[in-house]
Amino acid sequence: MTDLGSIFSLALSLVISGDQQLYSIIVLSLRVTLTAVLLGCLVGIPLGAALATYRFPGRGAAIAVLNAFMGLPPVVVGLAVYLMLSRSGPFGVLGLLYTPTAMIIAQAILVTPLIAALSRQSLADLHTEYDDLFRSLRLRPSDKIRALIWEGRYGLSTAALAGFGRAIAEVGAVIIVGGNIEHVTRVMTTAIALETSKGDLALALALGLILVTIAIAVNAAVLSLNRTARRLAYA
């Protein structure tokens, strides 16, 4: 086994040299993850806002289910999406299995409950704060939800960040529905798993370093955004 120092230097040289294979994996990872998080936000944030705003029979059960779904096992989601998209499944005709689209669908399913549950928690306090005002202004339900989301925009970035963290680090679901096909569906996590099993630790480590760097950079950006918002009393 190569020593750890040489693996690190090899990994760094791969990053610095702009290795084509490495960067295509990174780009695909970001494309899949960001699209899934975007879809998760489009569905999860209004859902969380609605649950934070409205009282209806079964609301408690809906929240409990949503909270439970935050911990959905990725391989189970991957399997469910696989069954839906496989040739014999109801959506098999679309031919999406082993494509980035299938990976986006699986990741979106994984992150939506997480984003929705965190959004609900974040917006519930805001709803308490503004409920009288919004009712006094006779806002329509859709306007109320829109206003609440805008008021909680910085808090919601944390929910989106949590979704991003889950999606970018996820391997179980994407390997089942994507198949880890080189230049087609290979993303950072599946590549790390593969290269490690093959013994190519340098590439695996390079990808790992980049994954961690991206996670830190995104966290730092959101943290900085929230700090600015707090300074301006917008958060």
């Binding site: 704060e129 503004y130 009288d132 005002l133 009712r135 006094s136 202004l137 006779r138 806002l139 306007d143 206003a147 008021e151 301006l232 009393a233 917008y234 958060a235």
Partner: protein, 266 residues
């Protein structure tokens, strides 16, 4: 504004309409036997009030008297368990709800600039916004210099003036104010009172809840005194301050703690 109400008849019915606004009259507001309970406790006890147009009605009373609840019930934020509210004889409808605004004890400013707070209410009421209009509203509240500032970073007085400006932007016929000066210094209090007076001059009916006896004396045309969820008096301001009818009001004005025997027996 009563003089504005012409005895014309709506084209599609018999309700008279206001000649200028083309809308049905909403005054007097009458509550009849308005009762609110919470877990067996009576919070509002058969509150019956008549609020006329054009006057500044001040609601006073000790903590827990039901002043804010009365305001919230008339404004439609809570639904009484019993009793009814009528507006020039008709029940609460979308028209009367759209013609009133409320200022709360906490300013409840949005996490936006002062200007954006005004724009928000104008847009939510379906009105057009223009820089000129918003500038005018902010200028009247003496807030034009902080138009671009984050609203929640303004001073307490500025925040409450912005909250009132936001309510007045809707040009309400009826303005409720729930202890708007509770945490303000004397200068800010006078600035808020000045805004209230200008709203009244513009034609709005004012209903103000306050604990500040000096403010009530400065503002009130008539005073509603409440204790333990009941209306004990509704008199002209001068009569109320000169010779309150109830011992509870007398004690309140003298700054003495009053234990309501009716409340303790309930």
């Amino acid at each position: 504004m009563l003089e504005r109400v012409a005895a014309t008849t709506a084209q599609n019915g018999s309700a008279p309409i206001d000649a200028k606004s083309g809308r049905p009259p909403m005054f007097p507001i009458a509550t009849r036997g308005m009762t609110l309970r919470d877990r067996g406790r009576v919070l509002l006890d058969r509150v019956s009030l008549t609020l006329d147009q054009g006057t500044r009605t001040v609601i006073m009373g000790p903590n827990g008297a039901g002043k804010s609840l009365t305001l919230r019930a008339i404004h439609g934020l809570i639904r009484p368990d019993e009793g009814d509210i009528t507006w020039a004889g008709r029940p609460t409808d979308a028209d009367v709800l759209s013609r009133q605004a409320m200022v709360f004890q906490k300013p409840m400013l949005l996490r936006r600039s002062a200007r954006a707070n005004i724009e928000f209410v104008l847009r939510s009421a379906g009105r057009t916004t223009s820089n000129q209009l918003v500038d005018g509203i902010l200028a009247r509240a003496r807030l034009i210099h902080v138009a671009a500032s984050p609203a929640r970073l303004l001073s307490g007085g500025e925040q409450q003036r912005l909250a009132i400006a936001r309510a007045l932007a809707l040009e309400p016929d009826l303005l409720f104010l729930d202890e708007p000066c509770a945490n303000l210094d004397p200068a800010s209090t006078l600035a808020v009172e000045d805004m209230i007076e200008r709203a009244r001059t513009a034609g709005a009916k004012i209903v103000l809840v306050t604990h500040d006896i000096g403010q009530a004396r400065r503002i009130a045309d008539d005073v509603v005194f409440m204790s333990s969820g009941r209306v004990l008096e509704h008199s002209a301001a001068a009569a109320f301050f000169d010779k309150p009818k109830s011992s509870a009001a007398e004690a309140y004005l003298a700054g003495r703690l009053y234990i309501d025997p009716a409340a303790s027996s309930r």
